[in-house]
Amino acid sequence: MEGASPDGTLLLGSILLLALSGVPGLFARKGGSGGERLATLLACVASAAGLVPAVRILFFGAGFRMELPSPLPGGPILLAADPLSALFLLPVFLVPALGAVYGLGYWAEAEHLRDGRKLRFFMGLLAASMAAVLVARSGVAFVVAWEVMALAAFFAATTEDRQPAVREAGWIYLVATHAGTLGLFGMTAVLRATTGSFAWEAPEGGLAVTGSASVVFLLALVGFGAKAGLFPFHFWLPGAHAGAPSHVSAVMSGVMLKVGLYGILRITSLYGTPPAWWGGLLLVLGATSALYGAALAAGQNDLKRLLAYSSIENVGIISTGIGVALLGRSAARPEWIALGLGGALLHVLFHSLFKPLLFLGAGAVIHGTGTREMDLMGGLLKKMPKTGAAFAIGCAAVAALPPLNGFFSEFLVYLGLLRAFSGPGEALLAGFAAPALALAGGVALAAFVKLFGVVFLGNPRSEKAAHAHEPGNFMRVPILLLAAACLAAGLLSPLLAPGLDAATAAWAAKSRVGIPALAAVAPLATVATWGAALLGLLALTAAATAFLIRRRTVSRGPTWDCGYARPTARMQYTGSSFGDWIAARLTPRVAATLLEERLPEGIFPRGARVSAAAPARDPVLLRLLEPFAQRWARRFYDLHALQEGRLTIYLVYVLGTLIALLAWSVLRGWFPPQ
């Protein structure tokens, strides 16, 4: 083993421990709590141990690089962590551990005899493989870790595989992730052909940007974009995230999507001066994802699908930042790089705080009410005050409202876009992207007003909602911790700036431009100070209001419903109505479809009924991929004959392929190319 260091040993050890955290539980007594507690303990210990080297590498300039001899073809296994990997490692070690604690309450072994142990095993494996992807630096190791991650996520997400919807979503995810992996295979091969080795390391000055570089970039965009949920490769995401148990959704949405973005960053970091269209393309895809995700989120009625679409929006915001940074590298504009990538990376960190918060909160709601349908909820803030308040913080954070953390990262992205348009050597695309993000932000605000308002405010719309209850401590503590983090992280973001600088420098190391410190180009500290002042002003106004109201008589009465004396809970504005206006205008062809409509007739109308539902599948899937896939599936129908279903036949295929390859290489030896 070459290049071993204490940081590397600790990091690899914690990854191994994380991977094995669910294993002892497999042999524990079924239904007993020993296995699940041990698994959670191991996951927490491993994560805490892993955070140490991650923080050391990100903030204190540590690093590690080691080569393991490998029996497989493809050269030695190269493992390394630079600040860019370390930044992405932080959520990997934070969110799954909190998810494991949450799982003790949410997916208790005693209540889930059939799938509890399986879920914990794959959760540990998922977390560990994500960490492995982030430290793998040679093609073969990377693709292996990537595939383990994709499959662990598949098994974790399809925990409830007896539900047809979950099976279908899992199937679509499997197809999507393997289509992406195919892209990565191609990318790895082309990269190997250019550099002559599987190691993803570039010489000083970076790899030359040739035609094959653009092929690598496009393949990376497909392979990693499919994992990140970037439009138009996002189609698997809403179903998979909605069908998974909530703490799995939290890990997938909060962490796994970011691993896809990491891949794009890792590959683009290899090149010296990327062509301008790379950044432009990412900027366009990012802004489109942001708009699309926000618009679809506003139209959803399923609690978790809404959150999943909002993840697409946030991935779009991050990609927009990456796009600005790429443009900065091709135009040699250091401040675009610092602002764009700084904002993107900060959003990576902050999204992995507020999105898990929202998914875990949604899990508590589902646990309490037994449904994911928002229109059956209402008034939950009174039943679950603490979770509800934490959820409100999450909603405000994801809508980028100051002084919560989401604002600070979006602030940097906006600043990068405005700089890119206002300075010399302007990028016109950036001038359009800023208002597009503003529109997406406005729509996302509408979506989260709807989410919080319909679920937690007003009066309960159904029996289930009326009997909701605050979850147990195992579930509540992670939620409250994440809410506190969302509240504090934005105001403390100046402290994170050195880490962002280090990661940005690692990314742009081959560009040979001096990147300015984030603190020098963005007034993060000033914004944080004034954000705290805003919080103070809000508190002051609240205290004054409370004083004014308390002094006078306060009574309760029914709400004013245009003179209607007996408003009922069912007359409240529903979530579908709330989002309909936006959904119908921004995405007219894919908005909710009318299922049933019986309008009142005559002077004394009897029964009238209207029901509508948002489509259960993503529009891209429904309108583009499915017709396409069906057409092609018919053409390939004859190939079914090859699928015998007997192992021996497949072995024959393998043997035949081998012989054919051998024959080919022998033939090539006979007729050498001129």
Binding site: K382, A392, A400, K450, T545, G557, T559
Partner: protein, 300 residues
Amino acid sequence: MINTLVHVLLVLALPPLLPGVIARTKAAFAGRNGPPLLQGYYDLARLLRKGSVLPSGSGWVFLAGPVAGVAAPLFASLLLPFGGHSAPVSFAGDMILFAYVLALSRFFTATAALDTGSAFEGMGAAREVAFSCLAEPALFFGFVALARISGSLSLSTMLGTGPGWVTAGAPLVLVAASWAVVLLAENCRIPFDDPNTHLELTMIHEVMVLDHGGPAFGLVLYGASVKLFVLSALFLRVVFPFNVTDPRLDWIAFVAGILLVALSIGVVESVMARLRLVKVPQLLVGACVLSAFGMLLLAR
């Protein structure tokens, strides 16, 4: 220091005057006397002394709406230059904070409406968030254009580009026109909404606050007038980006300008009818397109 003090005093004291000016203008057009100019202050004094009735089933969110509705626009005013004086708080990118602080008040106003459990207020909340999300890009296209003209990312220098009217007159006209629409839409004035009808006929803002009474309603009215004041000041600085040399004259010019904007809103409200609801988004998209063209004219 003294300028900051004047700034804060103005934004605290002046806003309730604006609805009075608008009402008097409309009355003059209709041949009536109209309410006293200081009616806004009288209303506030009366409301703050009243008791309140809270809708059954509502919680802290119901009161968070009025609180954020006052605190957020007041805070936003600190980021805005008033007349020739630069803002008390100014840094690169302060206009982003400005826009999102206003979004903060929108979030809580709309959720407060949903907390009542009333169908009607829910409808108002839905309209508020829907129309505002179209106003947002119009605002940002304007920001992008102004940042480009001035080469600065801070409101105090972005908005003070007197020479901009010489070098980039056409884009500024487009941005000003677009922001005039934003000013009317965000404050729910005619042609978007009629704040005078107050009950069922009002479609957006006033709908959301039907259940607020007493001090809470006082805060709502005050917050709405502060927002009107702040957005008027923003608009004023685009239309009139010049500094009068003397600081005192600057303040006087600013107050006169704000009153003039209020007067113009009164004129618009007198000569126009409210649009049908389905037409509202068209006008807002039109505003976006105007400022987008303003931005495009600047790109080479």
